[in-house]
Each structure stands twice: as C-alpha cells, then as structure tokens.
Symmetry: C2
Subunit: 346 residues, 2 copies
Amino acid sequence: MAIGIAILGAGIFAREEHLPAIRACDSLSLKAIYSRSEASSTALAKSADVDTYFDSPKSPSKSLDDLLQRKDIHAVVIALPILVQPAIIRKALSAGKHVLSEKPIARDVATAEGLIAWYKEQKIEQIWSVAENFRFLEPVVYGAEQVKKVGGSVTTFSMKLYGFVDENDKFYKTPWRQVPEYQGGFLLDGGVHFTAGLRGLLVAGGQHITHLAAFSSLLEKKLAPVDTVHATMKISNGNNGTFNLSFGTEFKSGFEIEVVTSKGAVVVRPTEVVVTTKDEKGVKKEDVKKFEYSAGVKPEILAFAKALEAGKGNEKSSPEEALMDLKILQTLLESGEKGGKVMKVA
Amino acid sequence: MAIGIAILGAGIFAREEHLPAIRACDSLSLKAIYSRSEASSTALAKSADVDTYFDSPKSPSKSLDDLLQRKDIHAVVIALPILVQPAIIRKALSAGKHVLSEKPIARDVATAEGLIAWYKEQKIEQIWSVAENFRFLEPVVYGAEQVKKVGGSVTTFSMKLYGFVDENDKFYKTPWRQVPEYQGGFLLDGGVHFTAGLRGLLVAGGQHITHLAAFSSLLEKKLAPVDTVHATMKISNGNNGTFNLSFGTEFKSGFEIEVVTSKGAVVVRPTEVVVTTKDEKGVKKEDVKKFEYSAGVKPEILAFAKALEAGKGNEKSSPEEALMDLKILQTLLESGEKGGKVMKVA
C-alpha cells in the first residue's frame, strides 16, 4: 500500500517540483498540503485534489497540528522558509512523521548542529532526511561515478556558477528571499547546491575541502548582503582549486564543475558530462555524455520513498551531508566578511 | 639608417623569436650575438650571418665587453637566465647601450626595485625597456580595447592557464630552468606572462589588483618548488575574481582571460576574442574576432625600435609595468607559502 504523505509548504518548489515528483512515485500517496495561509495552501491543494491545512486564519481541524495527527499520513516533505523550517521539522518528527526537509538544513551551522543533536537524542525511528536535489542530478551522479572510474589523485578542480537574478525571477519574488534575515541571503539559499555538487565530485576522488579563502561582493543591490563569492580552496591531498559563485553577473552565466586527476578529467555541465582520459596507446580521448535537463527532484523523492520502505534514510539525503554543504558555504561567507582570511573547513 | 643592435643570449627565445623579429624590422640592423659559451653563440651567429661574442673560452676581442664597446651597436636585446640578467642590464646601460631585457624583470621584487632605482639614479638617456610579449599579443591588445569600449564597472574576472610541462618541453630542458635558484621556478618564469595579460585587461577597465589569497602546490616533482597556484583576487572597486595557473595538469590545458563588467564581457583566448554586449534593443549579442596565433614578439621589437627613434621608452615595456607583473606573481607565491594568507598587493 502506498505511503501517505503531505507537503508542508505551497511555494514555487512545492508546486513545480515536489508535487509532480510525489505524483510520479507509485509508493507515495499525497494526502494533504499545508501552508501558513489558507489562500496559498488551498490553491495548491485544490489543484492537487487533496486536503488543505493552514494556520491563518485559524479554522477548526485545519491546523498543522491537525494534519500531523492524521494516522494515514506517515511522512511530510517540508519546503518552508529557511528560518521557519527547524521548528516544523522538530514538530513533525515529534508527531511521529518521517521528514524530508528542504536545503539549506538551517540558517547557520550552529542551528543545524543543534537540530542534528536534538534528532539523535530523540532516539526515534522516524527518518529525517534533508533534500539536496543536486546530489540526484543525473550529470552530477554520472560525473562522480566517472571521477571514481578515472582514478588517480585529484590535481585541480573548479566550480563555476554565474547567473543574474533580476526583479522578475520567480524565486527572488518570494518575500522571505527579498528581505532575508539569515546570513548570505540568496547566496546561502542557492549556494549550498553548488557546494553540494562540488563535494559530490571531490568525495568521489577521495577528497574533501580542508581550507578556503574567499572574497565576496555585492553586485546587485537588491541581493544584499552579498551575491558573489570567489574563493581558492585546498583539499585533503594538499592540492587546490577555485570556487566562483555569483547571482549578480548579467553578462556571464553558466554552471560547470570540473575535477582533474593525474589520470583524467571530468567536466559536469547542466546537460552534459565530458570525460578526458588516455586510451591504451596513451592517446588522449574525450567522451561526451548528454543528459536531458532535470532538477533531480523525482529521483530524490523516489529515494526518500525507498528509504521509508527500508526504514533507513538515504545517505545522500542525510542531515550530515547537508550540514557539510552549509559549513562550506558559511565558511565562504565568513572568509569574505573577514576580507579573504584563510579558514579551516574541516 | 638602421639602428645597430645585438642579441645577448642564444637560447630558444633568442633563436625562435628575437632573431626573426629583428630581421623583420627595417629600422634595426642585427650586428652581433653574444652568449656565455662560444658554441651556442657561434651557432646562432653563423646562422644569422653576424659576429659572435662569448666569454668562455676567453678569446681576444670576443668578450661581452668588446661587443659593448662597438660604436655601431646602439642597443641590445637581452635574453639570458633570470639570475644573470640584472648585472648585464647595468653593464650594457653603463656602456651607453639601449636595453630591452627579457621578463621577468628580476628574480624578486627587491632586486627589481633596486635595479629601477639604480637606473633612475644614472639619469642617462639610454632607454631600458623590459620585454613582455603578452602586452603585444593581438588578442590581449584587442581584448583590452574592447573592455574599454564596453565600459561599465568590472564585476568579475578570471585568468586560467593550465598546461603540462613534460620532460621533452624545450624550455624545461634549459639547465637553469631545470634547477631554478629563484622563487617559484617555472611558475615565476612563465607566470608573469599571465599576470601581465590579466592586468592589461583589468587596467583597461580602470582596475588594479589590490589583495589576493592563494594556495599553491607541486603536481609534477620535476617542476619544484611549485607548479600550481589557485587564487582569489580583489580589485580596486571591491569586486573579485580568480586566478588559476598550473604547469602540471596533464589532463587540462588552455589559456583564457575574462573580464566581465556591468555592461558586457570580454573573453580573450590564444586565437580569439569574444565580446558580449547588448544591442540598442537590449538584446544580448556576441561578437567573435579570430586571430592567427603569434607570440607578439614582432610588434614588441617594432615598438622598441620606434622607441629608440623617438628617444623615449614604450610604456608597455616600462620596467614599472614589468615590476607590477612580478609583484603580483611574488605575492601569489608568498600567499601560497603562507598557506593562503590574504595579502595586499598595492
């Protein structure tokens, strides 16, 4: 029998990604949608033909607490504003529900660590996973496999994400993103995807980021406090690379992660992976694999459903992984605030 | 009447670049070639059908001093090992010759500053220029013009040079490069080209590099002490970018400098420049200009010849420009040695 699930949050990502991903997953059965306000919850719930829950205005048996008391709902996917999530994660887990909460795991490392410590203390069977769709992007998954297959020692690497968030950007229009009350603003929210992506490829090469030094800047005033960070990073074998992330470059855009080893190179882009190696005769060759663009949420939800069936969280969605993505991003922001001071990551 | 000139040095660059460049310049007349050893000097002098000078073995009227006493030689191009050059530069200028000496200006900033101070104290009319062919590369020159034309404020930038110097590399085979007695080894020698190239484009955008933080590493043991540096750099308007330089990546190669402004972007590669701007209707457009590959030495020698005629050194070849290229490279090396410590450049 399909597992009953609810979506907490009725924003863009819930509507465009979570809803269709749950619909596409045979082992999940969407029962309800909750959002703080009746208007937004009901709009999405109606379109999905499921029950609506909200806390404003107050209405009998329509609150989040009411939703969490339903016996036919076993799990919730949480896609609420960053500052709101931790309390709701605790509440849902305490109510006996499994949880898949959205990235970033929390506003900062201290809050995230507190949440993880609390979760461990509960010694409960409910699974708490943190969504990071980049760990399920086909090119990232394939790229990591290729880094492992290529082998050798990582010699250099780079992560580049350049984009331009204008006034009409659908995510920018979200009020809690426009006036962020958490470090880094858009850079925290969007940035963890890219620390996750880079980490995925580096870990496949047996490396983790140990130190970094970053400068940060604000190119587009509306994205305050910072929208750009450029860093040099050192990995566990002592080699190094760069990390370039900006949401404020109108005339440069693109996403690329590259990991080079002593035996080959892997370049991951949104719809392709290029692998350079040498053939048996020592001649360099390049293999290009193309992918259709996808946000990776369907395989992520599928992995969560399988984890529910198995009674054990998927490692890719572990809170510890999400914490490490956040730790690197926070260290980038802190190094930037301190004018490029070199900082230890882990 | 053509200006009499001699080449001091009979290595790869003298043979492959300086000799043909001087031959191609109508206003210069090559009179002699000097190298420390008779064998190397005479081999090149014979092929060029000019007089040979050397100091080993000692031979009457064949020494460098003898060459510098010739009245028909007005200028010298010096392409000798880095550690040897400063003494020869002083000697040639003191003998009344104009000098174009090869980059880097000296082994370190202190030596370079000492040399510049000495030159100024002499209050002589002889021109001392320092060669940096990257300032004469057509794509770099055109790219800088485009940065100026595009206008706007520099938002981000990057310099990437990846290459692999193997045992058979003609420059690596030079004994003084194989066992370098100066900081940075190959990275100093080759690296100043790329600090020069990046500076050229940034200066066109009204910027200079103010701070940097770098990690360095040695990927290929034979290139000790370091062959790789990855840095984040801050420019005068507070924005930032990255600088990636490695001679030890077998599976990654290429050269690219990019400067992005609030009004467009300019990408310089060895044989093309791509300019992105918006047209009158606000639609983005890309202009690609192709170039034939050239090392830039011919226009550099031509500029030196013109400077000799005008009695005033070309600004692109000023010792101060070469000093700034070296200063940035030395700061990169020092930051790397200090584990990524952020450092002020200027």
